[in-house]
Amino acid sequence: MASNKKYWKSEAELNPNDSIVETLRHNEFVQDIPVDEFLGDKENLASSSTNRRDFLKYVGFSTAAATLAACEGPVVKSIPYVVQPESIIPGVANHYATTIANGFDFASVLVRTREGRPISIHNNTDAKINASANARVNASVLNLYDSTRLQGPTFNGESIEWSGLDAAVKKGLEAAKNSGKQIAVLTQTYASPSTARLVNEFKEVYGNVNHVVYDAISEDAALNAFQAKYGERALADYDFSKAEVIVSFGADFLGDWQGGGYDSGCSKGRVPQNGKMSKHFQFEANMSLTGANADKRVPLKPSQQKVALANLYAKLNNSSVGGELSDAVAKALESAVASIKKAGANAVVVTGLDDENAQAVVLAINEFLGSKAFDATAPKYTRQGNVKAVNALISEMKAGRVGAILMDGVNPMYSLPNAADFAEGLKNVGLSVSFSSNVNETSVVTQYVGAAPHYLESWGDVQMKKGNFALIQPAIKELFDTRQFQTSLLKWIGSDKTYYDYIKETWTANVLGSSDWNEALHDGFYAVSDAVVMESVPVVAAASVIETEEVVATTEIPLASALRSLASADTSGMELVLYSKTGMGDGQMANNPWLQEFPDPITRVSWDNYLTVSKADAEKLGFVNENVANGGLDGSYAKVTVNGVSVSNVPVIIQPGQAVGSIGLSFGYGKKEGLKSEMQTGVNAYPLYQDFSATQNVSIEKVAGNHEFACVQLHKTLMGRGDIIKETTLEIFNTKDAAEWNIQPMVSLDHQEVLATSVDLWDSFDRSIGHHFNLSIDLNACTGCGACVIACHAENNVPVVGKEEVRKSRDMHWLRIDRYYSSEDTFEQDNIKKDEFDGLTGDKGSLSGFGELEDPAVNPQVAFQPVMCQHCNHAPCETVCPVAATSHGRQGQNHMAYNRCVGTRYCANNCPYKVRRFNWFLYNNNDEFDYHMNNDLGKMVINPDVTVRSRGVMEKCSMCIQKTQKTILDAKRDGRVVKDGEFQTACSAACSSGAMVFGDVNDGDSKIAELKESSRMYHLLEHVGTKPNVFYHVKVRNTEEV
């Protein structure tokens, strides 16, 4: 029965004469439906002859036509060379030795090219110095194929010809010379003998030339201290493999401290051999890679580090200097002093404090110890930046005494703390030229911009360490109309030599002696033998007049006053410690999506920089971190102020191990100019880098809003599951049976406790025949540096997915490095706590206890664990795949046939290690993912031997089957057996610390077979019974207390 009820829509309806009600009754839609917007012009539509039937005909026809057209296969064209270069065989890779020297990273590398395209960077293992490519160097190959690169010289943003630029620059230089003004050459650190010689020749031609070397992240204090003591502007070199005791005050020597490259040496001493390993004390504010790997880490504000350093010196000399230290710190210092005294010459002390006094004290301590790891006779030249000279230049510019400025490899407008002064000064300079590979903050304010080639397109030479030379050779012809700075200088001084000839000349005259140039070029490096008394080859152009006076005036820093000033450092107030992130360095590779997506080893956050704050300070200031409902990590914003300069909206991460009273912020982010919008991440920390000091007194306050992080690891602790990362102390390792510290998991079978490995659901294959690949990961040697992550990226065409997707846990890295914090002071205490749980509630109740275990300690122990597909012999993923897309190979690799996969994702769900990655989208050829894989240039980095995966398929680590198959094929073709060490994966090849070793365990004499027999060997989640082909080595810590 219909209801007679009348529903009133509004009060107005009570009035029957209301005009509005009347109108509404006739008009169903109050406003016209905006059909125009989607049907176009109304008139046109009305007069259109296309009626509904015609429309359907068209639809039908086009569908049919498209279907028919799809029946025909595409015609693929193949275009061979007209004249094939002798060295290139299509399908076969070539390797060239070269060197990266971009002012921040210096390393001898091998470039792998396919059909003439560089596709990846490898370690040049033959080189003695800086032979390890870090994550950034591994990723640098992608910068070559950046579509945003400058493709030719410009004048005020307009494209010009090089000839036009040359004419204008020459004119400008002549004008500057005639007016008696200074010509400034502001460059990165080259450490290049040829460039130094070239700049000197440039000086001869143009007279008043001032060459200023500028490092974005300066090591000025260390350089000054070294210069004062040894008379040469250089950095002492350290060989940590020779050190039994390492004491570091804020030196992140596993990171970028003093140019980096120390991690492989350090790792050598960290693997217990004959019952011995190095002991490492770290006093630091931020949680750094080095601190995370230390045996004893003491969180300490920079000012307190100074006091501690002064006290260490005093204690070694059995004197005292005063200064206040807390009991815990004093105790740790005492223990460090005892260790140093015991080790004597086998100890080494380093510091990363931007303080000449501190640096001087450290040099004095190492001298006094006679440290074997310390080398001042053959120092390093990889940092040359001179703060005084830079500041002097800026004031000269402002005073209008600079007629021309030439810049190369620097971006002062971005990286100078006083960029505004520089900009002001630049206005008074008659001619400004900058060389840059991309548009950047500096290039937009200079008149002329020279498009600089990538280092893989350039010639060059480097003297990284005294007597150790390296050559830079191009691996590809210049992609664009670029020209390097040195070639331009040669042009401007009227020389018709190429820079190649110039380098060869320098080397023949000064470096090579009787050695062969071609051999040096082939090797990529040349070391002057120790026996030869070497003459120093200058790497810096002779200092100009003003500078020389200052240098002469510098005398050795008096130790007593240095100590006094250190000991009396003001330790009150909040301190900011600026640092360089493993992924981004000084920020010159901010346009590299691999590095942007690279998760920071410590915080595991990608696509961001952030303020690291201790838990205590966060509570005080009201900062929070929370995991929100969609699985992402959110954090508060802060405003950071140093001497009146503020950086606002800095996201905050609560960092376990951060020294209370200190905060950390990394350089390298917040770039805007010339970057794709996706790459414009983070905040710029350089404005806070006042007086080029990484430590600043700071004030912070909370500001409104929440920041969305893209963090790939939300769970921070191990929850007492000691079988995931097994660890022990050196003492126990040396004295007790392996069964006690490398506990084998047991399961119950027929009510009997038996070894988990003895129970099996499956029949085993016979794996004794042929190759059987295993990968060994030594948790002692692994520093967590992440070079393997990027190497895997490059080798396996792993796509970049972007910040939004990473936040949704859709990151595609085949290899991740898990980082765990302990909840108690040590992991061992976590294990004990978990084992002692008794009941649900109460003091030892598991309900509250597990909650507590989720929180990392104030100063936790840290462990890194690289996890990739474990290639289980009894793989859970294989049994659940409904289409048999993943199957097991006899050589131990778990295969993944992408073309067979239908994307059910059962395998990922059944994988206990969570290493499988699903392609949610088509990441190549897709402009939604603007990370170089969507344009022709970016695709040139793709490895042709590995399939580029499409949407809807699973992918995962293949144990670089393309590399193992290649090695086998090479051996077959040569008719020989495979030699040990020939088998490599991308990660094991990239690992310079020796943590990852790959090989064939069926080859009894191989290193991997030996490692598998080690008492430290264990498998991840052994009790699951998956029998993985990846194994780990128990981490041994050199600590007494556990």
């Binding site: 399908g91 025949i769 897309a885 199957s887 399939t947 073709r973």
Partner: protein, 444 residues
């Protein structure tokens, strides 16, 4: 196709033997007289060995055309002694300041001719004889092919005859049956036996009976569906299989002429097949190794066969294709120089393996020693290159199942072969037993 009767052949043999007789007599005669005339047949082989890389008879190449060079030089006032000296040590003659020698030297881009001190005067005479009058091309092979083709034709004919006879026999049988039936009916009528025709008319039509029999309907529907599915599957599996794909290429490159007629080794041009995953389309500089001196096609001296003619494969056609190569590589035939203006050839790729399948030529060619023809078919007979094999996964797998791994003399296989043959109890191992069926061996 050539149709040659036996009578014709006979006359040709006669002709050839007559020619040979005349030739020899002339030879004997000449030897008696002087040393001036050489043996043109011997001269031809010497010419091809030593001179053909830079000289042709009719055309300018790296060096001048050599047809009737002796008479040409005689006109210049140069005698045989000069020729001997020049051939044995050309740079010596140039150095001596000889006017004509220097003129030639400068004319040909100062490319000094290789010295041939090993050639005797008699050898040079032979060569000169050849340049004066090249001997006729041998004709016997053409006869041989004619005979074989004749045989093949006979076979084809006999097949047709047999088939025709069969049809005739069956036709006769049908007619006989019909007549027997008719006779029997007539006999039955004569004997007064009535043939019941009405009964059959009352019977339900067969389709109704079929519809009523539900079981039969079900069975036949299932049968139809299954067979339909079978054929549909078969047809669908053909999608993307391009067996027989023979696209038109920008330059008509005949594998038949190169690999077949001239017997050029496959890997001479596809050299990267030995060491790389790609067999590689030869770069144009490889073509020019030979085509610098082969500017014209003269493959069939008798002119093109009827079949070739029908397709337009005349000598002129092939020569035209060689000119296309010259245009692409930028070779100036007149001046025997590269112009530097090249135009890469856009070949149409025939064998298109998908991105997810990894195939390595060197594994199969160098390690396994498999003939190229195993997968690519009789390339030496293909005028237009085509895809011979289906290149499907089933095709790959079958071969891996059936083919034994070539382990002999390869140290790599020593250990694994010993162990595996013990395990499987076999002497030779197939690629499958070696692990060649695993997914990851080809898909990564």
């Amino acid at each position: 196709m050539k149709k040659v009767t036996y009578r014709n052949q006979f006359s040709k043999v006669l002709g050839v033997s007559l020619l040979v007789c005349l030739f020899f007599s002339a030879n004997l005669f000449s030897q008696d007289e002087t040393t001036s005339a050489g043996d043109a047949v011997k001269g031809k082989s010497l010419f091809n060995q030593n001179c053909a890389a830079c000289h042709s008879l009719a055309k300018k190449m790296t060096g001048p055309a050599l047809a009737n060079v002796e008479t040409r030089l005689a006109e210049e006032g140069l005698d045989k002694e000069w020729i001997y000296a020049w051939i044995k040590n050309s740079s010596g003659v140039i150095a001596s300041g000889d006017a004509y020698a220097n003129k030639i030297y400068n004319e040909y881009n100062k490319a000094a001719m290789t010295a041939f001190p090993t050639l005797s005067n008699a050898d040079i005479d032979d060569i000169l004889a050849y340049t004066a009058a090249p001997p006729p091309a041998p004709v016997t092979p053409a006869v041989a092919t004619a005979v074989t083709t004749g045989d093949a034709q006979a076979n084809g004919l006999s097949n047709e005859i047999i088939l025709g006879a069969l049809v005739l026999v069956f036709g006769l049988l049908v007619m006989m049956l019909f007549m027997v039936n008719k006779t029997l009916t007539r006999i039955a009528e004569a004997n007064g036996i009535a043939v019941e025709k009405e009964a059959s008319q009352k019977r339900t039509p067969i389709w109704k009976a079929f519809v009523k029999n539900q079981f039969l309907v079900l069975v036949s529907v299932i049968f139809l569906l299954l067979s339909g599915a079978y054929f549909a599957y078969g047809w669908m599996m053909q999608v993307g299989v391009d067996q027989g794909y023979a696209p038109i290429q920008p330059i008509h490159y005949s594998h038949k002429v190169h690999a077949g007629d001239n017997k050029i080794e496959c890997k001479y041009c596809h050299s990267s097949a030995r060491v790389s995953k790609h067999s590689g389309i030869p770069s144009l500089n490889v073509c020019m190794n030979c085509h610098k001196s082969i500017a014209e096609y003269s493959g069939n001296p008798e002119g093109p066969s009827a079949e070739d003619l029908a397709n337009g494969y005349t000598n002129e056609f092939y020569t035209g294709e060689i000119k296309k190569l010259y245009a692409a590589v930028g070779w100036d035939e007149e001046n025997q120089k590269y112009t530097g203006e090249s135009k890469p050839v856009e070949w149409v790729r025939i064998h298109n393996l998908p991105d997810f399948a990894y195939f390595n030529h060197s594994q199969h060619v160098s390690v396994a020693g498999i003939e190229c023809q195993t997968c690519h078919g009789p390339v030496e007979e293909m005028e237009i290159m085509q895809q011979f094999s289906p290149l499907t996964m089933g095709w790959c797998i079958n071969c891996h199942r059936e083919t034994n791994v070539k382990v002999e003399g390869n140290e790599y296989y020593d250990k694994i072969h010993a162990e595996l043959s013990k395990k499987y109890g076999v002497e030779s191992l197939t690629a499958a037993q070696m692990g060649g069926l695993e997914c990851g061996k080809c898909h990564y």
